[in-house]
């Protein structure tokens, strides 16, 4: 497997992620999975819909992964985001880092998800019973 896995997929399978990040030089693997939460600010979410500018999103995800590999000397890194309609409890994003020691993989994993949320052109629409909202669009 390549050192970096960067993907936009229709459906995320969380069962293989630790195998994908496994490495003989790693003592620690940290993975974050973002999932659809039933309530947001007290309102019941029916589903989320994700849309992307795929070509640019892959580029931005690759930059984040490369920066993390360099900064924390990671052995492997994964950034995988799902698009389309997602129901409650479904995984929508997986980021993970594999490194010699645990400090590095924890810090890198946090960096991956925080930076993804800031820069990667993916948009999330929350579908409630009676309305839809593009998240973060308005102040």
């Amino acid at each position: 497997m390549d050192k970096k896995v960067i993907e936009i997929v229709d459906r995320i399978d969380t069962s293989q992620v630790f195998s994908e990040l496994s490495d003989a030089q790693s003592g620690g693997i940290c993975v974050f999975v973002g999932t659809v939460r039933e309530f947001t600010q007290g309102e019941e979410v029916v589903s989320l819909e994700f849309e992307t500018y795929k070509k640019m999103a892959i580029k931005e995800m690759d930059k984040i992964a490369s920066d993390a590999v360099e900064k924390w000397s990671l052995n492997k890194v994964i950034i995988r985001h799902a698009i389309g309609l997602k129901k409650v409890e479904e995984p929508v994003v997986v980021v993970g880092a594999s490194s010699a020691h645990r400090d590095a993989c924890f810090e890198a994993c946090r960096y991956l998800i925080d930076t993804l949320k800031e820069t990667v052109p993916i948009w999330k629409k929350e579908m409630f019973e009676n309305k839809t909202v593009w998240v973060s669009a308005h102040p």
């Binding site: 994700f50 992307t52 640019m56 999103a57 993804l116 949320k117 052109p121 993916i122 999330k124 669009a137």
Partner: protein, 80 residues
């Protein structure tokens, strides 16, 4: 010149692309594009932020636009 639209930008315009066909109305820079769309669609002025990508990279306001560039409006992102 074509401009790709995503997320709420697509909803505001009601299309997935903007077309600039008359040569005297084609924006020559990122800042001019932003100004033109905000004048035509005031809803853009209410967004948290508004970015433009040129050839699938974020572009500063002073970046010039060419009609062969791939140009996209990037409303506030919300992945993850």
């Amino acid at each position: 010149m074509e401009v790709l639209l995503f997320g709420i930008a697509k909803d505001i315009v009601g299309e997935s692309q903007l077309q600039f066909t008359e040569s005297d109305k084609v924006p020559s820079s990122v800042s001019e594009l932003k100004r033109m769309i905000s004048e035509t669609y005031p809803e853009f002025g209410k967004l948290t932020s508004l970015a433009v990508a040129v050839n699938s990279e974020y572009a500063e306001d002073n970046v010039p636009l060419d009609r062969n560039d791939e140009i996209a409006i990037i409303p506030p992102v919300s992945g993850g």
